[in-house]
Symmetry: C2
Subunit: 168 residues, 2 copies
Amino acid sequence: MNLAEAKQQFIQNWGVLGSQWGINRTMAQIHALLLVSSEPLSADEIMNQLKISRGNANMNVRDLMDWGIVEKILKPGERKEFFVAEKDIWTVAMRIVKERKRREVEPILNALNQLKEVDAEKNDREAQEFVSVINDIQKFANQASKGVDGLVKMDEHWFAGTLLKLFK
Amino acid sequence: MNLAEAKQQFIQNWGVLGSQWGINRTMAQIHALLLVSSEPLSADEIMNQLKISRGNANMNVRDLMDWGIVEKILKPGERKEFFVAEKDIWTVAMRIVKERKRREVEPILNALNQLKEVDAEKNDREAQEFVSVINDIQKFANQASKGVDGLVKMDEHWFAGTLLKLFK
DNA sequence: ATTAATTTTCAGAAAAGATTGAAAGTTCAG
DNA sequence: CTGAACTTTCAATCTTTTCTGAAAATTAAT
């Protein structure tokens, strides 16, 4: 297998994985493409390589930047914008987990809080069971949340540590 | 807010969360409905409460059983089948994570193995960088995988106590 | 200030994914 | 066996999500 084929396969696989986890296939593919590109790519290069429209490329690249895993590079003397992906997989994973938590999980957990104010007789078994399920979910989510925050913090410390060493 | 309203809201929220994470909205809603139902429900009850067709109810309940988080109950003397959800949230979470790993993540990681056989000169920087990205992803995935396997083996309460302390 | 290069937006088109409902299949009591 | 009760399947349809492409906006060089 040659390099071009291998990259192509990687991009396809990454797209499948993304869409199974609720991430738009094209966004995952652009991310994969940038991950395996040693040079920054322009919008045109992304469009050509993935055979997608300019609008699609533009919107998904913007989303990837919002996720904090792709950044814009300006080359001196060039009018075009170029893009690179964060290559450290641990950092990528932490940013994704952190963002999904913030955007998708937290709002729903907040909404659950209100549901505990369901009015019920103290001896209403149905109502008590309901509140208990909601409580368990929140308890679990809070634990998981702290776990994630812990991992993210570990990552930041590690990163800070390494940077310090680099300049020592 | 009364109990019926609260349940309805919970079901809607759970559906939204599911669809954001690549799980069919209706499947998540059925799961939510069973979670907050103190009695086992029949297909007809699920259809009525969620206003969905028999076929839809049937297929999604089957999927939930494949995930190992819902089970079929037979009541003596009743012809109908009834369904209940696993109520322990920790168990639910572990089953979901385990299944998604098995079904979605592992196949793709296996596919990545082949990509490392890309033929390249030893001094081909592009190819080396590519193999290095694939390697990093696999290394990361293997660590995460071991982490998940470890969690799955843990006892719920032990986890609750320890993880909280670890990241406080 | 004009023009050319480039990026952004978004309404409509296309594709993907979910749902229905009726027919086929199964099960079991009588 | 037969038929009523119930479950399963799947082609057709509907819904949601994603993508396109051309127009509008922005940017920067002359």
